[in-house]
């Protein structure tokens, strides 16, 4: 490869990499500025001196009707609950589809796959209606119920993986007298760590990003999550971008930290979801 060619490739990739992180840099710089500094310093220059006032304001409850620490806590709670539910229920269902014999298996499996075609927004009105019937509007039950039982996509992903594992191991365990649940937890799951990692990453990111359903079903600070909280900050604050970016910083940083720790398996996981 010629030197010019190499330099060209690096140049293009560096520009691309810069564009990928540029909004994050904006968030950091802006969140450390005071409102007057938004006017007086260029957007790409850091604040001198930097200030943590915006974060203080968000977290000490001085903005009317906004309880930012609660939003953060709710997002964490929702993410943990949905991920736990997804891991347990998806594994059980995927194993049933992959290895167990029961009437209606093929039909049900294709019904699951068919639901992948249903656009999210199509289910919003009926889901709201269902929650209203049960009195679950603006409750944790209502917020979690539609997603906690595992997603058809996750089940599809896990089933495909389970089917690649050798059956002999399970047969051997069965002859040794192990029950189905014991086989699943002691034989199958230890062999499935990579795919469980993938499922965890995908679910954590999905739950953390979740916006449309929380926006639809929650209306008070007792259930509001970060995404909805930040989107409604706008209404409360107008164009206070210094505060908005401090809020965005809080919402964006946890996933970036996760990314730094699990970078390699995240890159692999994303690529894997494209395979069948």
């Amino acid at each position: 490869m010629t030197l010019i060619r190499k330099t060209g490739i690096y140049a293009v990739l560096l520009v691309g990499a810069f564009l990928s992180v540029f909004p994050y840099i904006t968030v950091v710089f802006t969140s450390l500025k005071t409102a007057p500094q938004l006017n007086s310093t260029a957007p790409w220059r850091p604040a001198i001196p930097p200030t943590l006032d915006n974060f203080r304001k968000l977290f000490n409850g001085s903005i009317a009707n906004v309880s930012f620490p609660a939003y953060l806590l709710h997002t964490v709670m929702m993410t943990v609950a949905l991920t736990a539910g997804q891991l347990v229920f998806t594994t059980l269902a995927a194993y049933a589809f992959a290895r167990m014999r029961f009437p209606g298996r093929e039909l049900l499996f294709w019904a699951y796959v068919a639901t992948l075609m249903v656009p999210n927004v199509v289910t919003m009105v009926p889901l709201y209606l269902i929650m209203q019937q049960f009195g679950w509007v603006d409750t944790w039950t209502g917020l979690l119920a539609p997603y906690i039982f595992g997603s058809p996509y996750g089940i599809f992903l896990m089933r495909q993986y389970f089917r690649t594992l050798p059956v002999d191991l399970e047969d051997a365990a069965r002859i040794d007298g192990a029950g189905t649940l014991a086989i699943l937890t002691r034989v199958i799951l230890p062999l499935s760590k990579p795919i469980l990692g993938t499922l965890t990453i995908l679910t954590v990111v999905f739950a953390w990003h979740n916006f449309l359903w929380p926006l639809t079903i929650t209306s008070s600070n007792s259930t509001r999550v970060l995404t909805v909280g930040i989107a409604s900050l706008q209404g409360n604050l107008g164009a206070d971008y210094d505060l908005m970016m401090a809020g965005s910083f809080v919402a964006l940083v946890p996933l970036i930290v996760v990314f730094l720790f699990f970078q390699r398996s995240i890159v692999r996981s994303v690529a894997l979801t494209g395979l069948k």
């Binding site: 998806t90 249903v118 656009p119 058809p152 690649t164 996933l255 069948k276």
Partner: protein, 314 residues
């Protein structure tokens, strides 16, 4: 695999009396349904039932507060004559046209550059996955600030070259391209990963043979790379078109469908009709329209690629 399990189990059962085998079958089925139970409940109650409900609701006039009133196909007739709905369909189509070609070409280009063996290439690759980790609605707010007319980073940058501030998100001309640019920003790296996986599965020997035959770079690209990437291309286009057809979060954060109705994509239109205008029967009919359009789009793509795909991998 399943076949193997079936035969080995049948072998075991052969030695047992028939009624015990039958009881075992029943027990197996019960265990299976026990395993399946929670997810089956979730899928039936929160995915399949809503689809049926939305279809039924589309035949009613209903505002959540009043009792529903059967109106037959009136919602669909109203939809056919509703200019703002077709405007929304047009805006959505334009959004897809703005994002998908740009994003796909950029992603393929990036994947090819990242598929070279240069020092530090792995670290660089990681940067492009970061936008996928960005929460869409939050990033919408961030980009709104970048596009902001006053003090925004983009206008600040253009100002260095003497360009007057442009009201990006307040302008009917620029608001949709601006929202689409954010779509490209968040989708390119993700798409790139699929192309990269596709590229890595093409055997190097094909390129060596082509070079021996005197094929140049562009010839190699059009006769080897592109044809062998067909399955990846199919997957990427189907999923990304379906995805961008349903854009909501960034629109909500950046423009709320405005200015006027310049960025009022179909998803946003449905949601506001349902939860701000409380015109829920009509919103259900619009949801059916979205569902139908997506099904149609997918069918067309499947057809198109079935005709053209000559290489099947895996």
């Amino acid at each position: 695999m399943v076949g193997m399990a079936a035969t080995s189990r049948a072998g075991l059962q052969g030695a047992q009396p028939r009624h015990r085998a039958r009881r075992r079958q029943v027990r197996d089925a019960l265990t299976a349904y026990l395993f399946l139970g929670p997810s089956l409940f979730g899928v039936l109650a929160f995915l399949l039932a809503p689809v049926v409900i939305v279809a039924v609701l589309s035949l009613f006039k209903w505002s959540m507060l009043t009792s529903p009133q059967f109106v037959g196909l009136a919602n669909y007739r109203r939809m056919a004559g509703d200019g703002s709905v077709w405007h929304s369909v047009g805006v959505t189509a334009l959004y897809v046209v703005f994002t998908i070609p740009t994003q796909t070409v950029l992603a393929l280009l990036l994947a090819m550059l990242l598929n070279t063996r240069l020092r530090g290439i792995r670290a660089l690759r990681a940067f492009f996955v970061i936008p996928w980790m960005a929460t869409p609605v939050v990033m919408g707010e961030v980009w709104k600030w970048i596009f902001s007319t006053q003090n925004g980073a983009l206008n600040g940058f253009l100002g260095l070259f003497g360009v007057d501030p442009v009201p990006w998100l307040a302008s009917p001309t620029f608001s949709l391209p601006a929202v689409a640019a954010v779509g490209v920003w968040s989708g390119t790296g993700y798409t790139m990963l699929f192309f990269l996986a596709g590229l890595q599965s093409i055997p190097e020997s094909l390129y060596e043979a082509a070079r021996l035959d005197g094929a140049g770079r562009s010839q190699q690209f059009f006769t080897i790379t592109l044809p062998l990437l067909q399955p990846t291309m199919f997957f990427v286009l189907v999923t990304s078109i379906i995805g961008s057809f349903q854009v909501f979060d960034t629109v909500y954060a950046m423009t709320l469908g405005g200015p006027g109705e310049a960025t009022s994509v179909l998803n946003f239109k449905i949601w506001t009709t349902a939860f701000q205008s409380f015109d829920d029967g009509y919103a259900s009919a619009l949801a059916m329209l979205l569902f139908g359009l997506l099904l149609l789009l997918t069918l067309v793509q499947v057809r198109f690629f079935r005709k053209r795909t000559t290489y099947e991998l895996g």
